[in-house]
């Protein structure tokens, strides 16, 4: 049904979006550091895996992302439930404040947290590092969880919970069996979004990491802002393949479920 003009436009835009990444990947196999092709090689990939600093950063990034996402999800889900029970004006005030980390420019959030941690650090005598980064990440992930869970709470029928209580469940059991079950899609998407944002965060991590704690985005900054570094190309290639694979798998799984549902 699509006119050829539309198709061409789509292809042009897609090409624009993918060309730079593909260029990066192509040159990750280049046996030189400039744009002059000097032969095919795997050496940058070897260098990448041997680089303990990069591997360390990767581990840090994954750890922080997982922990931040889990804690933010728990904190955010509970918060969403509680906030929902506030009345009109207070509720919207709280929601607005809770959204501040989302709408504020990242650099302002980063800088404000740096001020907080430096001040607290001198008072309480700790160094910025893993814990400050984790706290900062939880800080900006939780609002996303709340945003994802709240619509579900609105849609949920509160009488289900009371029905469960009437049928003899303890409040805790009712909570898990009814409330959490109903909210699960929102909780999951909140978790995924938190994980993604934490994984890729650079600005806030840059300001709260102190002098030595490295995450992958920060490591990439160190690698790329001084000299041309083909290890970054190799890293891009690996990331690209991983992301593409994950998204394709999730897409296939989703469409298979949809087809089953349609039957």
């Amino acid at each position: 049904m699509k006119k050829p003009g539309q198709k061409i436009y789509l292809i042009i835009i897609m090409a624009f979006l993918y060309a730079p990444i593909l260029y990066l990947i192509a040159y990750s196999f280049n046996n030189g550091k400039t744009s002059v092709w000097k032969g095919f090689t795997w050496k940058w990939y070897e260098a990448l895996f041997r680089d303990a600093q990069i591997m360390g950063s990767l581990k840090n990034t994954l750890t922080i992302a997982l922990l931040a996402a889990i804690i933010a999800t728990i904190l955010g889900t509970l918060a969403a439930i509680g906030i929902y029970n506030f009345k009109g004006g207070v509720r919207s005030a709280i929601q607005n404040i809770s959204n501040i980390p989302i709408i504020n420019p990242e650099i302002v959030t980063g800088v404000s947290l740096m001020l907080l941690f430096t001040f607290a650090g001198t008072m309480l005598g700790f160094e910025m590092g893993f814990w400050t980064v984790l706290l900062a990440h939880i800080g900006f992930c939780t609002p996303y969880v709340i945003l994802n869970v709240t619509p579900r709470i609105r849609q949920m029928d509160s009488s289900l919970y009371e029905a469960a209580l009437d049928l003899g469940c303890s409040p805790v059991k009712a909570f898990f069996k009814v409330v959490i079950h109903e909210l699960m899609p929102g909780i999951l998407s909140g978790f995924l979004i938190s994980f993604t944002y934490s994984l890729d965060d650079f600005v806030i991590t840059y300001f709260t990491r102190g002098a030595r704690f490295q995450t992958l985005p920060v490591q990439i900054y160190t690698m790329t802002h001084q000299r041309i570094n083909p290890k970054a190309n190799a890293l891009s290639a690996i990331m690209f393949v991983t992301i593409l694979t994950l998204l394709i798998i999730s897409n296939i799984v989703t469409s298979r479920k949809d087809k089953e549902a349609a039957r």
Binding site: F49, G121, E127, L188, L246
Partner: protein, 411 residues
């Protein structure tokens, strides 16, 4: 369900990656010794022999010799080092600042006295480099390298002989192809020499007027069109990739650039330039003092110092190491500049906080230009409109909210 599945797949792949990475790091290092301690070293970038290209991997050598883990990180400027030490409560054991920064840290009580019983290799350090102004009794520092600032240019873009000194950087003939130091001290120092009348960059303090004039000179570099970009380590990519024509930089690094691009050549600036000595010190936040002194001693070992000097190609204050170096090194003008030049050189001294802040503030203005009154007025008007408009909208929303509540109550 579909989300749970994609979530599970994500987690599986991620944990698989996490599980693999420690394995790959270990197998690459083969028999990794168990470390009995660590030492945190904070140094300039590209300032230690890394073992690529056949040289010695100094860090790995230290780790295998003593079984102590080295946590090695880099800083780009002395100012960055200072900010980190002051503002981030980090602990480092060995730092390698330049002369004026050593003076500043020493005067502010941020360095520990060295126990030279633990640094017997100190005997290799040339007398000429001991008891300098920045550490009069040589109690806090051990010289690591010394050098000066020269100019590097691309012979294909600028004919030989056209460049004789820093003043040529301002020549509008070299449109958009000149680089400059991206740090306030080095950039302003060059500008100061070229001011009329010139200001001595080595003096202990500068008046506001001095700094203003130097800043104006730097802005001229931008306005005249010759400035391409303010860079530090990016200068390597720019010059080696033949992307810029002229840049001032540290002599040793120029030698490295020339190695990687045969079109490059150097010029010893006729005005004289900054002569610097970088030294190893132990900051007061140090947590592993013994390991730190061991590391410093190790770096003064003739073979180690020679390996480092060979890689970074800066002058070495270590006489025993000098004897191990080859002819090319000892005769190179970039390592051994002519005496008339050295006489014209100046050394940075420690300046007080306020002056220094002023310099950094002005340097940003040099980088970005001065704001004209038009922009200032425009921004203030914009800000005013934003604030008033926001207040109006908020007021309207509140009014609407009150009206709606009234309407609902009526129903």
């Amino acid at each position: 369900m579909k989300r749970i599945l994609s979530l599970l797949i994500t987690c599986v792949i991620l944990f698989a990656t996490m599980a693999i990475t420690p394995v790959s790091a270990e197998t690459a290092d083969e028999a990794e010794p168990k470390y009995s301690g660590e030492v945190n070293v904070y140094n300039w970038g590209e300032y230690i022999s890394p073992g690529d290209d056949g040289g010695l991997d100094v860090i790995a050598e230290f780790e295998s010799r003593y079984g102590i883990k080295v946590n090695y990180t880099n800083f780009e400027t002395n100012e960055e080092l200072y900010n980190v030490l002051v503002n981030s409560n980090s602990s480092y054991d060995v730092i390698i600042p330049s002369d004026y920064m050593v003076a500043r840290l020493r005067e502010e009580g941020m360095l520990l006295k060295l126990d030279f019983n633990n640094i017997p290799n100190y005997k290799n350090i040339d007398d000429r480099f001991r008891n300098q102004d920045f550490d009069p009794d040589s109690e806090y520092s051990v010289p690591y390298s010394w050098g000066f600032i020269a100019l590097v240019y691309n012979t294909k873009m600028i004919p030989e002989g056209e460049i004789t000194g820093f003043k040529d950087m301002w020549n509008p003939k070299y449109q958009n192809s000149v680089l400059m130091f991206n740090n306030s001290r080095d950039a302003l120092a060059i500008a100061m020499q070229l001011c009329d009348p010139p200001i001595d960059p080595g003096s202990a303090s500068f008046s506001e007027e001095d700094i203003d004039r130097a800043t104006d000179k730097l802005i001229e570099l931008k306005d005249g069109g010759s400035l391409k970009k303010y860079v530090m380590d990016q200068v390597f990519t720019e010059m080696e990739g033949s992307q810029a024509a002229l840049a001032p930089y540290y002599a040793g690094d120029i030698a490295t650039m020339m190695d990687n691009n045969e079109d490059l050549d150097f010029v010893i600036p006729e005005e004289g330039s900054n002569l610097f000595i970088d030294s190893m010190c132990i900051p007061s936040c140090c947590k592993n003092k013994e390991n730190a002194e061991l590391f410093i001693n190790f770096m003064c070992d003739p073979e180690i110092a020679a390996a480092n000097a060979e890689y970074i190609y800066y002058g070495t204050p270590n006489t025993a190491a000098l004897e191990l170096m080859d002819e090319d090194y000892r005769e190179s003008e970039l390592v051994n500049p002519p005496a008339e030049f050295v006489d014209k050189c100046y050394k940075f001294t420690n300046i007080d906080d306020q002056t220094y802040s002023l310099m950094q503030e002005n340097f940003i203005k040099a980088c970005t230009g001065r704001a004209d009154s038009g922009s200032k007025v425009l921004v203030m008007i914009l800000l005013g409109i934003m604030i008033i408009a926001s207040l109006i909208v908020v007021a309207l929303n509140i009014r609407r909210g009150i009206r709606n509540r009234g309407r609902i109550q009526k129903i």
